[in-house]
Symmetry: C2
Subunit: 423 residues, 2 copies
Amino acid sequence: MATETTAPQADLSIVAARAKAAGRRLAALSSGQKNDALTRMARALEARTGDILAENAKDVDQARAAEVGSALVDRLLLDESRIADMAKGVRDIAALPDPVGVIDTGWTLPNGLKVSKKRIPLGVIAVIYESRPNVTSDTAALALKSGNAIILRGSSMAARSNQIIVDVLLGALGDSEVPTDAVQLLGTDRADLERLIGMEGEIDVVIPRGGEGLKKFLGEHSRIPVIYAASGNCHVYVHEDADLEMAAGITMNAKTQRPGVCNAAETLLVHREVAAQFLPRIGRELSEAGVELRASDEAAKFMGDLEVTPASEEDFATEYLDLILAVGVVDSVEEATDHISRYGSGHSEAIVTSSLAAAGRFEAGIDSACVYINASTRFTDGGEFGMGAEVANSTQKLHARGPVGLAELTTYQYLVIGDGHLR
Amino acid sequence: MATETTAPQADLSIVAARAKAAGRRLAALSSGQKNDALTRMARALEARTGDILAENAKDVDQARAAEVGSALVDRLLLDESRIADMAKGVRDIAALPDPVGVIDTGWTLPNGLKVSKKRIPLGVIAVIYESRPNVTSDTAALALKSGNAIILRGSSMAARSNQIIVDVLLGALGDSEVPTDAVQLLGTDRADLERLIGMEGEIDVVIPRGGEGLKKFLGEHSRIPVIYAASGNCHVYVHEDADLEMAAGITMNAKTQRPGVCNAAETLLVHREVAAQFLPRIGRELSEAGVELRASDEAAKFMGDLEVTPASEEDFATEYLDLILAVGVVDSVEEATDHISRYGSGHSEAIVTSSLAAAGRFEAGIDSACVYINASTRFTDGGEFGMGAEVANSTQKLHARGPVGLAELTTYQYLVIGDGHLR
């Protein structure tokens, strides 16, 4: 028995107006009220696991009938343990500190005016995503906790799964203080998407969680501010004085621990002084792990009889998201940072070194979201950073960089208190 | 003798590439090196006042010959005192704290990774502005201090003035550490503007300092992130328990002290309980100051024989930037905040009240950039806030709200230090 609390066919202006009104009510809720609603939602996901699985099975059947690839089916598929994870995700968000009302800074002016800069919700957030149904509960929970109304736009392939999850979440609100317009799910037709991203002033930000095609489309057409999820062409640079044991560990971890994600390394740069010692060893280890090596001419010379592919200019600019690694040799920290500045995507870059001076020069030369000294690039993640769940990982420079968690879903407001102050 | 250090006709990609390289060098400069360059620039503006006035006179002559309005000519016109103000502006920026390298926050994770979140420059900033030549030195100084390269695009009317100012600024650098590509002035043809705002990845942000037409154009066409300078439909709300002396002072100051700017008030809302007492008095005072009153039917009833114009719905949504004030009557704080939420532009709103509870409800109901309790909206300004000069005043919610000063011209970067940490 699914409650019918959402209206996917409703006119978009009505959806946006409801979201705005809900957002204003959410902004005024206490942490306790929001956490209570989140706890009810988590419980409902668990209690109604059977209903969710039944709807999800229909999506999965249809996807299989349409002969989509098995990787896609796997992303779409829910089971009891995945639903338990979704519920845990919502509870984890309830347990995080409330970002709303935090005073970032404040001061008293010479004329006695008291200024404080405090965090308030953005208002209305739209999230456009692909086939994973867990994004529905994750992003709804993040939005609610940060006091924002959310408009969800999932893929048609997961339409039934997303609908039942939203119904379950909203059905759990009961007589809680959270308005049911706080979470709205859109239908999946293309015209709606186009209208959605033209609704400046009605929707405060749109966050795409999809491939490069969606991002490009938004870059060209969106009139709403966008927080772009990252593409990650991440680098590991091994300096001449690196502990080569550590360098090998970091390279293997950054490349192979989970190659399909944005914080995995795509290029290894090695200082010439240690290339003869390090490259044959790491090359063998990588090859044994199934990694294809695409090496510059110079790097290839150091790798003896290992099987390598010549790296083109394009290889150094590519985010493989696969077991492929571009390899180059450099003569200095500066040559490494110049390479990264030229080919990188501004995500995460690591240096392995024992020298404070080299670490400082690397840090100064990199303007990516995250710089690592002697650690794997794989740590760029809201959970790993201790910020809790993230809605995306940003490589843009404005507003949010790196993990986009609860704080990044807020803006700030100046509160100025006087006693009849005139200018 | 003007040095010819800029190349207005250069290909835009070359301009952007030079700016990017200059930005990377600027990012590594110490505060001392940047302040030294700023001090030289201020001195050069003073020393070459005659040259600047000579070029400015040509622009002014041409504008007069073209019979542009006297207000425009006044904005364009420089004299010794305005150039002295420009030099003082640059010195004031030198005296401000350096925003680059500030650690906003940091923590150590349970696994021992040390995370710090520090401020770094945005990179390359483009500023598009109208006829005031002082914007050239103001924004160049703000960009330099915040470690950013700047691309300036002024109006054709001020072309000679802008060129000589840039020449003087760059000529002052001598053998300082600041690269001369840090400040570049573009030519003024329209096609260049269109190409400029399509240079995603090459220019990090564009800041328009112009009218609504320019903003609309950027909203539709820019593929670079934009920081929008504000339009300000600001409100003063007089609560039933307000000190009416204070309320009158704040209303007069917010409306009349400088009506042509974004933080001037455009609407006065008065609680019904004090309307009979307050409206006739403030109405008279405003009329005597030459302010046209556009009153709702209800408000008009309280203003007796004062000359008022009936306010249309549109009046409440208008930023007059003139001696005109819309006036309404409300029954509660919530009616006031609903009105402001509906008609406001998210800039600055003031309540006059003696009640802590009413102030709290007003604050909770407003999501504008600045909320004032018992103070004039006219304080929304980087200088007044003690943040130093501002490049714009933002009403958008992402990245920067309110005054856009030095800190808002930076982004952040996570520095993560480990000891061979793997995930």
